[in-house]
């Protein structure tokens, strides 16, 4: 099957800083893939380029066989590191907002998930805790029927119970045609849900393999491998 995301010689430069250095990448459909690397390795830059929020300095990137643009945005669901839902919006406003914006938004599913969270529909974002707001944002992003989900640090900065809720939400909403790319440095928490992983180091992809293969050939977990590879 063809790739959902493909990059050739993708480079992004911020002034003198090389955030992505000649990245070649082919991501298959129907997989949950970890984008793993220490802080400042280029994870967010890569996700933002794929989401169409940044333009690369050079190189080519295709999502669903198309150059990044309006059409790819309609098949990509992006969860940024920081929530962008305005303070004054109520839960219901946010649902309306997503429904207006995205034709693939499944409102019924979002409402179901929010019921599990016990968030009242008339609550304003301002009054929700940080963890609840992050869960809310994730619910919205995962309720789209997208082909590619880009999740930037979905489990950073939340407590372990919330982390479990978030991973449950990701697994529970996953459909076998779609690919989910999750960036994180909390590897032990996500490694059970990853089919594949990418190691990103100073803007270069140093490894792309399946999680099972690492355990099979090296007899160690991804977390252990990461600590070795990125030892400071």
């Amino acid at each position: 099957m063809d790739a959902i995301l493909e990059a050739r010689a993708l480079t992004k430069r911020y002034g003198a800083t090389l955030a992505l250095n000649n990245v070649d990448l082919t991501l298959p459909r129907g997989k949950i893939i970890g984008l793993l690397g220490p802080n400042g390795s280029g994870k967010t830059t890569l996700l933002k380029i794929a989401a169409g929020l940044l333009t690369p300095t050079s190189g080519v990137i295709l999502a669903d066989n198309r150059p990044i643009g309006e059409q790819t945005k309609s098949v990509i669901s992006f969860l940024p590191e920081r929530t962008y839902l305005p303070d004054w919006m109520t839960v219901n406003d946010c649902l309306d907002y997503f429904e207006d914006f995205y034709s693939d938004f499944d409102r019924k599913r979002a409402v179901e998930m929010l019921t599990r969270l016990a968030v009242p529909a008339n609550k304003r974002m301002r009054t929700l805790s940080k963890g609840t707001r992050e869960k809310m944002q994730l619910v919205l992003v995962m309720s789209r029927r997208a082909k590619l989900y880009l999740l930037d640090e979905p489990i950073g900065g939340v407590d372990p119970a919330t982390r479990d809720y978030i991973l449950d939400t990701i697994i529970g909403n996953y459909d076998s045609e779609a690919t989910i790319l999750i960036s994180t440095h909390l590897i032990s928490d996500v490694e059970k849900v990853l089919d594949e992983f990418l190691f990103l180091k100073e803007g270069i992809i140093t490894m792309h393999d399946t999680t099972d293969n690492i355990r099979e050939t090296q007899g160690k977990s991804l977390d252990e491998l990461f600590r070795e590879v990125f030892r400071c």
């Binding site: 449950d168 697994i171 089919d195």
Partner: protein, 128 residues
């Protein structure tokens, strides 16, 4: 409660072991319909693809069958279950014997300890 996994083996093969155990000890009864891949994946807190791979493996071991419309069921083939149990018991015995050998125990001592362990187990069983 998510299942526990060790770090040095592929997760799918650990899932195979866990489900196999549940079939062999009757937690999953013969002919019982298994939960869907998604539900099993949620229970174990693993990737649905990983669960899928584990179930395919169990299928090729003859412990699980795919019904065309009814999802997956535990086999009703007693012979297959008997074979799997015997294979598992064999592996565990081999491991045990190897570990005893590594400890420097000879055959006599091992047998003695096995017998002792058995009586202890019975006592524990009565007390609880």
């Amino acid at each position: 409660m998510a299942w526990q996994f060790t770090s040095n083996r592929p997760i799918y093969s650990q899932i195979v072991d866990e489900i196999e155990l549940r079939i062999l000890n009757g937690t999953y009864e013969m002919g019982m319909r298994l939960p869907s891949v998604r539900d099993l994946a949620m229970m174990a807190a693993v990737n649905p693809n990983t669960m899928q791979r584990a179930l395919s493996e169990l299928e090729s071991m003859g412990l699980v069958n795919t019904q065309r419309n009814a999802g997956r069921t535990v086999t009703t083939d007693e012979e297959a279950v008997r074979r799997a149990r015997s294979a598992k018991a064999h592996t565990l015995t081999q491991t045990y014997l190897l570990q005893m050998k590594a400890l420097g125990l000879d055959r006599e001592e091992v047998l003695e300890r096995l017998a002792k362990g058995e009586t202890k187990e019975e006592e524990n069983g009565r007390n609880s």
